[in-house]
C-alpha cells in the first residue's frame, strides 16, 4: 500500500487516511471508507486484468482466420474476460466502492451497521477472486462465463470447478454487502433523514441490495449443483439420467438477469446525483425515480426467460417473459426522461462528472432501446447469441455502468482523497472513452444482424471490416481508461487541494471535511430539508 510514503506537508486535520499508516491499519480496518479504498484498488486490478483479456480477444479478431491464438486459448480468453468483468468488477464496482464510502455518509451515519462484516465481505471477495485468477493461471476455463451445462458439467476439460468456486465464494461478499446496506439504511439514518429525503443514490443502493440478498443465493445453489454434477455426476442437468440441461439455464438466469440490475441500478443512482448537482436543480420526479428503482428490482426477477427464447421452452412461457421484459423497460425510461427534465430551467455546467453523465444517458438509451429488440421474440430468434447481444449488453454495462462509475469516481474523488484531478485531462479522457466506446461496440450491432455469432474464434471474411472498426475502437477505449488511471494516481500527491465541497453540492457527505474524519462527522448531522435543495423554493411551475 502506497501510504507508507509519509508526507504530512501541513499539519493536516486528522482524517481516515492519515490516522494511521501501517499496513495493519488497512488490512484490519473496519472503517467503511478504508474498505471502500481496498475495494477500489482490488476492482481496478480486476478491471485491468479483464481489460487485457478483452484486448487480446480484439487483437485476434482483427483477421477472420483464427491465427493469433488457438481455439482453446481464445475460448479461455472470452470466458475469463466475462467471469472477471462480471463477478469481480461490475457487480462490486459501484456498491462496494462508492456505495461503501458514501452510503453511511449520505445518511449521516458513522459507519455501516456491521463494520466487521463489511471487512469480511472484502476478504471473501479477495478469496473468490484468487480462486478465479488461479483457475486462469493453472490453464483457464473454456465454458463461457455462463457455465452452460452439459458443456461445463461433463464435456469441458478445463478448470471449471476452481473458477466456479471463485464465483460461488464471491457471491457471499455480495450478499453481505447487500445485507449491510439494507440494515444501515433502515436503522442508521440521521435525525430528520426520512425515506422521502434520501438521496436517490441511496434508493438505488437499497434496490440493488435487495437483489443481492435475494438473488445471489440462487446462483450459489446453481453453482453448487453444477459442481456436484461435475464431480459426482448426480444427473440434475444430464439428460441421459433424466436431468435437464435447460434447468441450469433457468436457475442461472434467475440470478444473472437480476444481476444486470445489480450492475446498472447503482449507476443510475450516481447519475441522479450528478445531473442535479451540475444543473443546480432539484431532481425532477423524485418519487418516480425512487419507485422506478424498486420497480426494476422487482420486475427484474421475472424476466429471466428472455434469455431462452430459442431453447425450446414453452412458447407461452416465452410470451410472458417477453411481455415482462417490455414492462421492465418502463421504469428505465422514466429515469431517463426525468434526468433530462431535471436540466429544464437549470444552470447547467460541463465539468467532467457531468460529461460522464451525458455519456451515460446517451449510451444507456441505446443499450435500453436495443434491449427492446431482444424482448421482441421474432427478432431475438435471429440476433440472440450473435454480436447484437454482445453490443447490447456492453452498451448497458460498459456504456451505462462504467460511465456512471467513472462519473461517480470523478465526482467524489475530491471527497475521498481531498484533492482534485486535472480537469482538462479528465474532460479529454471522458471524450476519448465515449468515442472509443461507440467505435468499439456500434459496429457489433451491424455484425449481429448480419449474423456473426458470438464467441467465434474465426469468422466469415465478409464480417472483417466491422471487426477492424471494433478493434480500433477498443484501442482508443483502452487509452481512454489509462489516462484517468495516471492522473488519479498523480492527483493523490500533486492535485490541487479540493476543499470540503468543490462542486458546491448538496448532500451530507459534502458537509464534512475532505477527506472525511474517521467517524465521518464531528457531530451527528440533523436533516431539515429534502435532497437536492439546489433551487430557490418558489412556486411549483410545471404540472
Amino acid at each position: 500500500m502506497s501510504t507508507t510514503l509519509q508526507t504530512p506537508e501541513l499539519v493536516e486535520r486528522p482524517n481516515y487516511l492519515n490516522e494511521d499508516y501501517g499496513w495493519k491499519s488497512w488490512l484490519f480496518t473496519t472503517d467503511h471508507k478504508r474498505i471502500a479504498i481496498l475495494y477500489l484498488i482490488s476492482i481496478s486490478v480486476f478491471f485491468l486484468i479483464g481489460g487485457i483479456f478483452a484486448g487480446l480477444m480484439r487483437t485476434e479478431l482483427l483477421t477472420p482466420a483464427g491465427d493469433l491464438f488457438n481455439s482453446d486459448t481464445y475460448n479461455k480468453l472470452f470466458t475469463m474476460h466475462g467471469v472477471v468483468m462480471i463477478f469481480f468488477f461490475l457487480i462490486p464496482s459501484i456498491p462496494a466502492t462508492l456505495g461503501n464510502f458514501l452510503v453511511p455518509m449520505m445518511i449521516g451515519a458513522k459507519d455501516l451497521a456491521f463494520p466487521r462484516i463489511n471487512l469480511l465481505s472484502w476478504y471473501i471477495y479477495i478469496i473468490g477472486g484468487l480462486f478465479a485468477l488461479s483457475a486462469a493461471a493453472m490453464g483457464g476455463v473454456d465454458t463461457g462465463w455462463t457455465f452452460y451445462t452439459p458443456l461445463s458439467s461433463t464435456y469441458s476439460n478445463t478448470f471449471v470447478l476452481t473458477a466456479a468456486t471463485g464465483v460461488f465464494i464471491s457471491g457471499f461478499s455480495s450478499i453481505l454487502t447487500g445485507l449491510n446496506f439494507i440494515v444501515t439504511i433502515h436503522k442508521m439514518r440521521a435525525p430528520g433523514m426520512t425515506w422521502g429525503r434520501l438521496p436517490l443514490f441511496i434508493w438505488a443502493h437499497y434496490a440493488t441490495s435487495l437483489i443481492q440478498l435475494l438473488g445471489t443465493p440462487v446462483v450459489a445453489i446453481t453453482i453448487a449443483l453444477l459442481c456436484l454434477e461435475r464431480v459426482f455426476h448426480v444427473g440434475i442437468f444430464d439428460p441421459s439420467v433424466g436431468g435437464d440441461p435447460i434447468l441450469f439455464q433457468h436457475l442461472f438466469w434467475f440470478y444473472s438477469h437480476p444481476a444486470v440490475y445489480i450492475m446498472i441500478l447503482p449507476g443510475m443512482g450516481v447519475i441522479s446525483e450528478l445531473v442535479t448537482c451540475f444543473s443546480r436543480k432539484s431532481i425532477f420526479g423524485y418519487e418516480f425515480i425512487a419507485a422506478s428503482s424498486i420497480g426494476i428490482a422487482v420486475i427484474g426477477f421475472l424476466v429471466w426467460g428472455h434469455h431462452m427464447f430459442v431453447t425450446g421452452q414453452s412458447m407461452y412461457a416465452s410470451m410472458v417473459f417477453s411481455f415482462l421484459s417490455f414492462l421492465v423497460a418502463v421504469p428505465s425510461a422514466i429515469k431517463v426522461f426525468n434526468w433530462t427534465a431535471t436540466m429544464y430551467k437549470g444552470s447547467v455546467t460541463f465539468e467532467t462528472p457531468m460529461l460522464y453523465a451525458f455519456g451515460f444517458i446517451g449510451l444507456f438509451t441505446i443499450g435500453g432501446l436495443t434491449g427492446l429488440f431482444l424482448s421482441t421474440m421474432a427478432v431475438d430468434v435471429h440476433v440472440t447469441d450473435t454480436y447484437f447481444v454482445v453490443a447490447h449488453f456492453h452498451y448497458v454495462m460498459v456504456g451505462g455502468m462504467v460511465m456512471a462509475y467513472m462519473g461517480g469516481l470523478h465526482f467524489w474523488w475530491p471527497k475521498m482523497f481531498g484533492r482534485m484531478y486535472p480537469e482538462g485531462w479528465a474532460r479529454f479522457s471522458a471524450l476519448v472513452v465515449f468515442l472509443g466506446f461507440n467505435l468499439t461496440f456500434f459496429p457489433q450491432f451491424i455484425l449481429g444482424y448480419l449474423g456473426m455469432p458470438r464467441r467465434y474464434h474465426a469468422y466469415a471474411p465478409e464480417f472483417q471490416i466491422f471487426n477492424v472498426m471494433s478493434t480500433a475502437g477498443a484501442t482508443i477505449l483502452g487509452v481512454g481508461y489509462t489516462i484517468p488511471l495516471i492522473y488519479f494516481i498523480w492527483s493523490l500527491k500533486y492535485g490541487k487541494v479540493a476543499g470540503n465541497n468543490p462542486w458546491n453540492a448538496t448532500g451530507l457527505e459534502w458537509t464534512t471535511t475532505s477527506p472525511p474524519p474517521k467517524f465521518n462527522f464531528d457531530k451527528t448531522p440533523i436533516v431539515t430539508e429534502d435532497a437536492y435543495n439546489y433551487s430557490h423554493r418558489g412556486e411549483v411551475e410545471v404540472g
Binding site: 440441461p245 433530462t340 429544464y344 430551467k345 421474440m377 421474432a378 430468434v381 466469415a460
Partner: protein
C-alpha cells in the same frame, strides 16, 4: 462507395420468415431512432439552452409533474405493446410446425463440432443442407453431446439443439443460393468451426440431387435393419408372449401408461422409450424387461429407428414434433380407431377380460 468496397450492411433475406422479421426489425429501428433523437435532442437542447450564464441565477424548484410521468410511461409502453404483439405473432409462426403433407422432413444431429443431416429418402450429409425453393422444410434436431444452436442468418432462423430431446423448427426458402449455417450456441473448442452451407435449389435441381444419393436406402429401411440387428423385432413385432407392446401403428397414437397417465407416442416419447425404457411403462407391461440403449445407439440411429416405427403407422397422422407441449394448437392427436387397444397386450388369451 460502400457497395464498391463490398461492405455488407444488411444480411441476405432468403426465406419467407426473413422478409417478415426484416420488416419488424425496420419498425424497431425507426422507433429507436425516433426515441434516441427525442432524448438526445432533449438533452442537447436543455444543456445548451439552460447552460450557466448568469452566476447569480438560482434555478426554480420544480418538483415534477404527474401528468408528464404518466405520459412518458404510458406512451412508450403502448409502442412497446405493438412490438410485443407483432414479435409474438411472428415467433409463434416461426416455431409452429406446419402440418402440410408436401413439407420436407429433415433430421439434424449436432455433434462436437459438426452438423449431420439426413433425409427420409436416405441422403446424408455433413455441414451441408440442400433444400428446394418454395417448399416448407421441417427440421427435427437432436444433439449427441452439448447444446448447439442451428442458425441460418439468411433465413433469420435459429433453434437450439439440446441433448435429451428433440427441438423442431421450419422454414421456407425463397431464393436459390448458398447461405451460411452457423452453430450459435457456444459448444466448446471448435465452436467457430461448426459451420456449413445451406444450398437452396430450384425444385427440379433438388429432385435431381435427391435421387442421386441414399445408397444405403431410406431412413426407415436403415431403421428396419437396426431394428432387426438390435433385436427389437423379437419382442416388439413378433412376440406372442406379451412381454412388450407391439409397435405396429403405435406412432402418433395416445398410449395409456402404468399409473393412468397417457402420452402421445411422438418422436420424443419413442426416443425416450429406446434410451430409458423404464421412464414410461405402457399400462399392463412390466418395467425392467427391456434393456436400455443409452450410449449404444447414436442419435442418428435413433432417428432411423423412429423413422421405421413411423413407417409401421398408418399414413394419416402427420406428427413431426417432439416439442408437443410448446406447439400451440396441438392438444390432442386424434387416436386411430383402435388406439386404445395399444394399451392392452396383443396377446388375445389374457386381454379379453379387460375389454
Amino acid at each position: 462507395m460502400f457497395l464498391s468496397l463490398d461492405i455488407p450492411l444488411w444480411p441476405e433475406a432468403a426465406s419467407t420468415n426473413a422478409a417478415e422479421v426484416d420488416l419488424l426489425y425496420i419498425f424497431l429501428i425507426v422507433v429507436s431512432v425516433i426515441m434516441t433523437a427525442v432524448i438526445f435532442l432533449g438533452v442537447f437542447i436543455f444543456a445548451m439552452k439552460f447552460r450557466k450564464k448568469d452566476p447569480k441565477y438560482v434555478p426554480p424548484h420544480i418538483h415534477g409533474s404527474n401528468l408528464l410521468e404518466i405520459g412518458w410511461s404510458v406512451a412508450p409502453f403502448l409502442v412497446m405493446l405493438v412490438m410485443f404483439v407483432w414479435g409474438t405473432k411472428l415467433y409463434f409462426d416461426e416455431y409452429t410446425i406446419p402440418a402440410t403433407n408436401d413439407a420436407i422432413d429433415v433430421y439434424v444431429v449436432g455433434k462436437q463440432w459438426m452438423w449431420k443431416v439426413q433425409y427420409p429418402e436416405g441422403q446424408r450429409e455433413i455441414n451441408e443442407l440442400h433444400v428446394p425453393v418454395g417448399r416448407k422444410v421441417r427440421l427435427t434436431m437432436a444433439s449427441e453431446d452439448v447444446i448447439h444452436s442451428f442458425f441460418i442468418p439468411a433465413f433469420r432462423m435459429k433453434r437450439d439443439v439440446v441433448p435429451g430431446h428433440y427441438n423442431t423448427t421450419w422454414f421456407e426458402a425463397t431464393k436459390p443460393g448458398r447461405y451460411h449455417l452457423f452453430c450459435a450456441e457456444y459448444c466448446g473448442t471448435e465452436h467457430s468451426g461448426m459451420i456449413g452451407w445451406v444450398t437452396v435449389m430450384e425444385p427440379a435441381a433438388y429432385e435431381n440431387w435427391l435421387s442421386g444419393g441414399g445408397a444405403e436406402g431410406s431412413m426407415a429401411s436403415q431403421g428396419e435393419k437396426m431394428f432387426q440387428q438390435l433385436g427389437c423385432s423379437t419382442c416388439h413385432l413378433l412376440d406372442e408372449q406379451g412381454r412388450c407392446p407391439i409397435l405396429r401403428g403405435v406412432y402418433g397414437s395416445r398410449v395409456l401408461l402404468e399409473g393412468g397417465k397417457t402420452v402421445i407416442a411422438d418422436e420424443s416419447y419413442i426416443r425416450e422409450s429406446i434410451l430409458t425404457p423404464n421412464a414410461k411403462i405402457v399400462a399392463g407391461f412390466k418395467a425392467d424387461v427391456m434393456p436400455t440403449f443409452q450410449g449404444q445407439v447414436s442419435e442418428e440411429t435413433v432417428l432411423q429407428l423412429i423413422a421405421y416405427i413411423k413407417s409401421l403407422a398408418p399414413k394419416t397422422t402427420n406428427l413431426i414434433t417432439g416439442a408437443a407441449a410448446s406447439v400451440p394448437g396441438m392438444t390432442t392427436i386424434p387416436g386411430r380407431p383402435g388406439a386404445n387397444s395399444q394399451n392392452v397386450r396383443r396377446d388375445t388369451t389374457k386381454t379379453d377380460g379387460k375389454q
